[in-house]
Symmetry: C2
């Protein structure tokens, strides 16, 4: 079985984005005013994610709202709470329609400067609906990086609930309002790197030994600079990274060329790597050097030198361990 | 000959940092109040950079003020101008004392929100003193990223002067005031990634075909995500990266483990890679996995599968081409 732990509903029906526009503009729109039929949901998936699953031979995608659309910086906490409910409810409908193809991952109603304690209620609601994980945004300001590091006690209320519910988080930012940062080309990758470095500096997993965090996009710059991070941790008198972080931190395989995947598989312990493609995501074209889609990451794992058993850990086994609420 | 294109005067005498403290506190201190003897300069180098050059077998370092100390966000443009003169004059003294070991690279008197046109005078002054390159900070706000992207016409006055003087720039941020970003572990690497993505989005080298930019720290996350960047450029209808950027953009080898260097050498054309170690820099310890210093990057190049001729291009030939003002 091939489990893709990182997929977003980038192809959601236009009615969702229209409702969002009205929500932001009018500030009082009922969730009931969003009308999307089951057929519209099916249409949005059959020609996109489901087709791609079939073509590439993946079985199930852990599916969350479009990352760029979380927009925690837009409106206040109430706007964010309503938008989270709407987006998560839609993800739940997707997974109810296609329970074999998608498992639900929620966004959280974060809002800049608002305690993440405000996420607890939505996290519980989603857990009750069978969600298996959440996306946690380390920068709800959308590219201005105004929140304290992830190791600060500010974040603890959401970690406590995640641990209680056995819910891992993918550390994933949303869109960038900062013209310096292209969202998928700079902000996403920077956020991955930043989050990992914050975790090195702190001692979060001493307080939360059961907490599980997934760093997407192959861990940003981290595996490429693994020597730098091992060296910085050592200079800071931190334990070896395998002891300091790797019982709790995982990387996905959203790296869109063979040499990048080969490096990831070489430097990061295999038990810390989860298969993912982020489809339909940041890069949609065909690589002229290979004739294959850039984001067809299964090919890179298949072509790696790993044994069949090791490949299976990355494709399936590790996801089962990390997303332990997931039941096939 | 082995040319290290990226070294900072991290070990400058304490008198420099004391003068800086007074400059920031008192706001009117004369440059003449900085007293550093030639012997103090020799002492600061003999036991550090010069010793390391000898031990590792490198010949010359392109040497600039400590990156973290540029602090363009501190004080106003006048403070920055004075500090740049002081730092660059000290670099010049180093290179006069040890002309075979160091070639001078200057910092610029940038200041947040102030037109980079204010850097022209110092750039000319340094060129007259024999400087061979400069460091350009894409984020003079120190981690808040308030400046427009490097492709904006805002930056053109400094590019015009760089081209006129045949002076390449290393795109290098300074310290981070943003608690989210550890300076050497997140801010530096993010800046490299961010700058490259800005260059993809724009069309800077159409206007400046002679401009040369070096992205340090192995290009941040870029080579690891080379497929992502090729794919994003393609989705944006940009030319192939080799045509769009690689006639003007170079990467250094400040990547502190063998697999990272191997990836860099594999995906980036060899003519775009310049040897560097950043010593004495971000990571100072010995890698317990190899028994060698993390930042002894020569070993990684030596151990790579490149031919002797290709190694020599990275160690020497490419630096001569890019830093064409440099004369041995």
């Amino acid at each position: 079985m091939i489990v893709d732990c990182h997929g977003h509903y980038t192809t959601a029906p236009q009615a969702l984005w229209d409702w969002r526009k009205r929500q932001v503009a009018e500030k009082s729109i009922s969730e009931k005013q969003l009308k999307i039929s089951d057929d519209e949901i099916r249409d949005s998936l059959e020609s996109n994610q489901l087709r791609i699953q079939r073509e590439r031979g993946s079985d199930i995608t852990f599916f969350s709202p479009r990352a760029g659309s979380m927009e925690h910086h837009v409106g206040d906490a109430a706007v964010s709470a309503q938008w989270s409910r709407v987006q998560n409810d839609l993800i739940k409908r997707v997974c109810t329609l296609y329970p074999k193809n998608f498992a639900p991952v929620c966004m959280l109603p974060q809002s800049p400067g608002v305690s993440p304690a405000n996420c607890v209620e939505e996290l519980e609601r989603c857990a009750d609906m069978g969600f298996i994980g959440c996306n946690l945004n380390p920068d709800p300001s959308g590219g201005w990086w105004k929140e304290v590091p992830l190791t600060d006690k500010w974040w603890y209320p959401v970690y406590e609930k995640m641990v209680e519910l056995d819910m891992p988080a993918m550390v994933h930012v949303s869109s960038s309002c900062n013209p310096a940062f292209h969202f998928t080309g700079a902000h996403y990758i920077n956020a991955d790197t930043t989050a990992f470095m914050q975790l090195i500096q702190g001692d979060l997993f001493k307080d939360f030994p059961q907490l599980k965090l997934v760093i997407p996009h192959g861990g940003g710059a981290v595996p490429y600079h693994w020597g730098r991070y091992r060296g910085l941790a050592q200079d800071m008198k931190k334990p070896l990274l395998k002891d300091h972080l790797l019982k709790n931190v995982y990387f996905d395989t959203c790296v869109y060329h063979q040499p990048g995947i080969d490096l990831l598989l070489k430097v990061i312990p295999l038990e810390n790597i989860l298969f993912a493609s982020e489809m339909v995501g940041a890069v949609r074209g065909i690589d002229p050097e290979t004739g294959q889609y850039f984001d067809d990451t299964r090919r890179y794992i298949d072509s790696s030198k790993l044994s069949a058993a090791d490949k299976q850990r990355i494709f399936e086994g590790n996801a089962k361990k990390v997303y332990s609420r997931w039941r096939i």
